[in-house]
Symmetry: C2
């Protein structure tokens, strides 16, 4: 069959080339006679896969050498607890609320630390980004937590807060699950970035933690050893058996990112720059159409609109079922919005080609004409 | 190339049929146009995969309906903390020490509970199984923990302790990572069984927890929500995004187990009974040869020898490198012993065919002749 365009919010569509290579290597990785799933994590074969993946991610995201890259388990939801266990020392921590994910993070952190909310867009139904200058930062927070892309509400930070300039000495910690590897990261503003892999990186079941090494080593006594960043770092993410196959797939995705090329008016871009340019173009196409359609609406403030997750509404919820059925008939899958927000949501991660967004917009136009 | 026999202790060899099906379905699961890795865990497609896998595991292991089956993350090492968080209420817990894994479990539990060691085979270098009648059980333990198969030391419980008959009211909790689904389980003696998937079930990165439902719902306040058995159970193992691809592979392995047939003097056996008969035959062949060889030795007491993990020694460690190199040349992989024990170790899980053990014994005979 024709490969459909899959707009799922995560687990999400993966590059076709990655899936093809994984299928080809399933029974025999490079003449070893073993599939990657069958390799001991201590084998030299798997260690070479693991080290290459880390090196490629460091290259793609320009991760400075004084940051540890940890391959963990549990997803961002587990990290909501694991983070304060590791970095809070049970003391004051600052949280910015910009959507359902940061709200969930703050709630879980209250089990372990004194959580102070520095800003919230709740009164705007999580459709805006509170101006950084208005944040009520603590004097003594162990860290300041943000969700840099809210998957459910479609709110993205296009520039990270400069905490030092705002008068805070705390490191910024960001849950970047749903836009990691979609754009560059200004590490001078970031102490730790973390995220589930199941959007832009690979299969569900792996969690990336990228943390400045001076921040670790002070975990609370109740921290499970398997989730103590220092223990994980000291053991090369192999204190417990890592999710080896997910690590391998992530490595294939990193290779794919490095191979991307995109010709733009500014010249030919490669790697993450190519990916980011494509993401900008995809988002511009979809938001541009939403705003001009006079039929569909997106509720998010223009400066806060996510390049990755685009919630939108039809004029009436009564049209939703027809829209989704028609979309499926056009090979456009998984467009139903999150139950908290309702309506539709198109997740357009790295592996969604521009052609997918073009096909979606084309279908949306036809649907608007026939139902307008 | 000829598929080698892979004796890795985990991640470990998987059934060839499972890998072939996974490769075939990588880009398109049953005409959906999506690979399983790309499916939202909330999609009806993935939910059907997840439910079938649970139903098959319940059937294979005859899990009673009052036990919850949880698909989690972190492996047995994370469970060493997650278990006491969930079941200890911070009070007294009993641990039997039979090898390095139960030792590690007891050490981690001390962070959360009052750990009492009921028995230990440490003075025997973890080569025996302390008689159950000698265990010093507490009057008031929240649970009694055992590792029912010690992967490193090769010690297996062939009959589980009957705690009630031994005078304890506590539920038995067993780490059965390395022999789950290799034999039947007497649930009348078990409150909870858990294990990493990467031996007999599937890829690394998934953790099985099978727990009697009356035991959950009393987690300590510090328990991360993602690891609170009650939260996980109430959300069908989807409170956080589960390791969907590992869950799918596990489902294929469960189907494979159900399809097994083995003709024995007692008639034709199917499913887990066929698997168990094959495991008995494989272990009998290998231990039988070890004992008669006059060259190799296995240090474990006969009544405690594991069907899954068989450590053995050559007459001199000076021969180890030659043995491993020759094994590799004969397509017999990953036989090096764990660093704690030294020597060799053959892990002969469900997916290792009898032919693999025959090939190993044949090679061992030749090696003994040429180096004896």
């Amino acid at each position: 069959m024709t490969r459909p365009f899959n707009f799922a919010p995560g687990p999400a569509t993966l590059p076709l080339e990655v899936l093809q290579q994984a299928a080809n290597e399933m029974l025999d990785w490079r003449g070893t006679g073993m599939g990657v799933m069958e390799m001991s994590h201590r084998s030299k074969e798997f260690i070479s896969i693991a080290e290459q993946a880390e090196a490629d991610l460091r290259e793609i995201l320009s991760i400075p050498s004084n940051y540890k890259v940890l391959f963990m388990q549990g997803g961002a939801i587990a990290e909501n607890a694991v983070l304060p266990m590791n970095l809070s020392r049970g003391a004051r921590v600052d949280y910015a609320i910009t959507g359902s994910w940061s709200q969930k993070s703050a709630k879980e952190a209250r089990k372990y630390a004194d959580v102070h909310v520095v800003a919230s867009n709740e009164s705007d139904h999580h459709t805006t980004l509170p101006a950084y200058g208005s944040w009520q930062l603590s004097d003594n927070a162990a860290y300041v937590h943000v969700c840099s892309n809210e998957t459910v509400h479609g709110v993205e930070m296009h520039e990270l807060p400069d905490l030092a300039a705002l008068g805070s000495n705390a490191p910024l910690v960001m849950d970047c699950s749903s836009h990691i590897a979609s754009r560059t990261i200004d590490w001078s503003r970031v102490g730790m970035a973390y995220g589930g892999a199941q959007k832009n990186i690979g299969p569900a079941g792996m969690t990336m933690v990228i943390v400045r090494e001076d921040l670790i080593g002070h975990a609370m006594a109740i921290t499970p050893s398997a989730f103590d960043y220092k223990v994980v770092a000291d053991n090369g993410s192999m204190y417990n058996t890592p999710p080896t196959y997910a690590w391998y797939i992530a490595g294939l995705v990193f290779q794919w990112i490095k191979q991307q090329r995109e010709t733009t008016p500014q010249g030919e871009l490669t790697g993450l720059a190519a990916i980011e340019a494509r993401n900008v173009a995809k988002a511009a196409l979809l938001y541009g159409y939403l705003d001009e359609s006079g039929f569909y609406t997106n509720p998010v403030a223009v400066n806060a609109r996510s390049r990755m997750n685009v919630p939108f509404f039809l004029p009436s919820d009564d049209l939703n079922d027809a829209f989704l059925a028609g979309a499926k008939a056009h090979n456009l899958l998984q467009l139903k919005g999150h139950k908290i927000v309702g309506g539709m949501r198109a997740s357009i991660y790295n592996a969604m080609p521009l052609a997918g967004v073009q096909a979606l917009v084309s279908y949306m136009k036809d649907f608007a004409v026939s139902h307008g």
